[in-house]
């Protein structure tokens, strides 16, 4: 006979008025693009790679931001994030400003800028999205059971993650210069996640 431990019941789940039970899908606008799959994202990634190899970084960035799987599943989003990271890493420091200006102006430029900002924050939030998605997601190791892993944190600073982070940070700096803090605020409010 199992004893029910009442203290471990998450009572918020049972309360219909609780914020946990807020229907998050009501925050999605009707204009959300139809869901895409990871294979579609993979084909976008190869198109983008071609553009990048063909010496058109601006076109590559523009294309990868226009095809962001806002309505896709998690797998599609992961594949697309890898593609975006690849493009960002493939553009040289000196070219950043010029490329950004091209991408963030003109028709739909503001949306592309907001979308890029979402990817920058997503890239900075996920420690393992290595170039091309080659690395598999590591399990977070937490020896003390505190949920806070020191091992992973240290690896970040020294390994490839640190280099990726510095690329994202310099993009972030350039993008804020161009489109202002409003774009950062919209990353927090927008439920059309990338």
């Amino acid at each position: 006979m199992s004893q029910l431990n009442y203290r471990t019941i998450n009572i918020d789940v049972l309360d219909p008025d609780s914020s946990i039970n807020f229907p998050m899908d009501t925050l999605l606008p009707a204009t959300l693009p139809p869901p895409t799959t990871s294979s579609a994202a993979a084909s976008v990634a190869s198109e983008v790679r071609q553009l990048l190899r063909g010496g058109d970084p601006e076109g590559a960035l523009r294309h990868v931001l226009d095809t962001a799987p806002l309505g896709g599943d998690d797998r599609a989003k992961e594949v697309h994030l890898a593609a975006v990271t690849e493009v960002l890493q493939g553009i040289r420091q000196g070219e950043m400003s010029r490329v950004l200006e091209g991408v963030c102006t003109g028709d739909g430029g503001a949306e592309r800028a907001d979308c890029l900002m979402k990817y920058l924050y997503k890239g900075m939030a996920s420690p393992v999205s290595g170039a091309g998605g080659a690395q598999s997601p590591r399990k977070s190791v937490s020896p003390q059971g505190t949920g806070f892993s020191q091992i992973q944190g240290r690896n970040l600073g020294e390994g490839g993650g640190g280099q990726q982070m510095s690329v994202l940070l310099s993009w972030h700096e350039k993008l804020v210069e161009l489109v202002g803090t409003g774009s950062i605020v919209r990353v927090m409010t927008d439920r059309r996640t990338v």
Binding site: F22, L27, P29, V179, G182, V185, R186, T189, D190
Partner: protein
Amino acid sequence: MPTPEVHHLFHNPIADHSFSPDKSTLAVARDSNVELYQKSGNKFSLTDELKGHEKIVTGVDIAPNSGRIVTCSQDRNAYVWERTPSGWKPTLVLLRINRAATFVRWSPSEQKFAVGSGARVIAVCYFEEENDWWISKHLKKPIRSTITTLAWHPNSVLLAAGSTDSHARVFSSFIKGVDTRPEPSAWGERLPFNTICGEFLNDSAGWIHGVSFSPSGNALAFTGHDSSITVVYPSAPEQPPRAMLNVTTRLLPFNSLIWNGENEIIAAGHDCEPYRFGGDESGWQLTGTIENKTGPGAGSAREESALHMFRQMDLKGQTQADTQLKSTHQNTISTVRVYEETNGVLSKFSTSGVDGRVVVWTI
């Protein structure tokens, strides 16, 4: 443009402010009290305090004709204050809410007022003669979260509400026996209580901080925490709007907005200064700031002696104290209100904010 009239009242946040119609009385919400200031010369001095709320006062509004003041607070109550020979007398309003009251505004007819709350309802309050008190009816249906802001349509029946569920909605608050049947408009023809005349969501969502009807009532503007403003032009009842125009900005979010005629909107918020937007049904854009910041901020830089410079570097690690913002408000602006207008076109408006200042701007 002329320099704005600045009244630095105290060093506390001002949740809301309201001027009497003759502009001689200013009511501001400070902590759990409402303070009344009287104009003497070109200064405002404290004359009265409306004490009664137990928690932070979130809204205050002076009715232009009757002079009654309505206040609401996080203690879940609202009071209507009337001036008697022995001072201001409060009447408790039966709100029937179990969460904080967040916002209150008189309808233009002054027969009703609406109170937004964290209980996911809007209490529309009116005076019941028989029992001699203010009672409320709840607008409830599709609201999924706290109501943060409200605005009345000029016909006193339609009510716009913004919520933390990121939707701006237009409701009918028609109460039999109190309201006269409104003229049919693009928002609706038959308008029983709690009719939903519109429900709008931005692409980038975000809590709604401010809503406002245009002077004609035929357009709605709202702003949210996504640093954008959205203008909606309704087409016909039950139909999608004729146009819904979103202007994203590079600024920090706006907290409040008002219309200046049908083709200009003034919005202010976390960037501490008011901005102008201009446009019509074909498109809107940010057109600039109200404030001319080359004035006081830049001019206040005094002559710097070498001694002074090194002393500052020693004391503060910098040569110039740059703790002052260049804007008139030194912190977030929380409320923008119409101060003086003719036929919907503004000549003056007022702002109040977290810095304890009330500023009257001339356009």
